[in-house]
Symmetry: C2
Subunit: 110 residues, 2 copies
DNA sequence: GCCGCTACTGCGTTCTGCGCAGTACTGTGC
DNA sequence: GCACAGTACTGCGCAGAACGCAGTAGCGGC
C-alpha cells in the first residue's frame, strides 16, 4: 500500500519529533524515521523538509566535519521549532481522533 | 491551523467510511464530513474524490431527481469499495500507531 | 424577476513527497 | 592508483490531491 499521500503534512511533524531532544543531520534523520516505522520515506523528502523547516525559522543549522565521509549538516529545534512541534502535535491528535471516530462510528455523521 | 495537507490520502478513507452503510450524494457527503469534524473540507475536494473512487470502480452511482433542487447523484459502496475501505482503514491505523509512537517516544528512533 | 439554497462540473493553482542524477569525501580491495 | 561501495547533501522536474473560484441549473419565496 502506498503511504505517500498519508505523509503529506505529517512529515514535518515526524521530523520535528525526531529532532526533539537530540540534533541530527539529514542522512541520520532518514535512518531514524525508517527505524521508527516510516520505512518508505524518501531521502529527498526529508532533506526537502529540513530545508523547508529551516527556511521557516524552526531549525538551527551547523556544519560538522566527519571522519567517515562528507561534512554533516546538523539541524536542531529552536524555540519556534518547539512551539511548532507542540502545535502540530495537537493538530495531529485532533485530526486522528476525528478520523478514529468517523471510522468506528460513521453514524455521527448520518 | 491548516489541515489541508493532513487530508491527503485520508479523504478517500473518510468518504468511504461515510458511505458505508448508507448511500449518499455529493452535497450530502460534504455535510456529513463537516458534521463529523472535518469542517474545513472543500466541496470540490469531495466531489473530486467521489469521481475518483467511482472511476476506480469502488462506487456505484445512480441519479435521483429531487423536489428541492437539481437532481442528486447518489453514490454507494460496492464489493470493491468495501474491500478498499477495509484495507485503507488498516493502513490508516498502522500509520496512526507509528506516528503516535514517534510522538510519545522519539527514542525508538534514536 | 431576483435572490438564496441546493447540487454538480471544470479549470488552474499550490503544496509536498518522490525519483533520479549529480557532486563529493572516505575507506577497502584489486 | 583506481574502481567501487558507503556516507552525505543538492537540484530538477514530475505527480497526486486538495482547494478556490467560476459557471450551470433547478427550486421556492419575496
Amino acid at each position: 500500500m502506498d503511504t505517500t499521500q498519508l505523509l503529506k503534512g505529517v512529515l514535518d511533524l515526524a521530523v520535528l519529533a525526531v529532532l526533539d531532544g537530540e540534533d541530527g543531520y539529514g542522512y541520520d534523520v532518514v535512518r531514524r524515521l525508517r527505524a521508527a516505522g516510516l520505512e518508505e520515506v524518501g531521502d529527498a523528502s526529508v532533506y526537502g523538509t529540513l530545508r523547508r523547516l529551516y527556511a521557516a525559522g524552526h531549525l538551527t543549522s551547523y556544519v560538522v566535519p566527519s571522519a567517515e565521509g562528507p561534512h554533516r549538516k546538523y539541524y536542531g529545534l529552536n524555540v519556534s521549532g518547539r512551539a511548532q512541534l507542540e502545535m502540530a502535535t495537537k493538530t495531529w491528535h485532533g485530526f486522528a481522533d476525528t478520523m478514529a471516530a468517523l471510522l468506528t462510528d460513521p453514524e455521527v455523521a448520518a
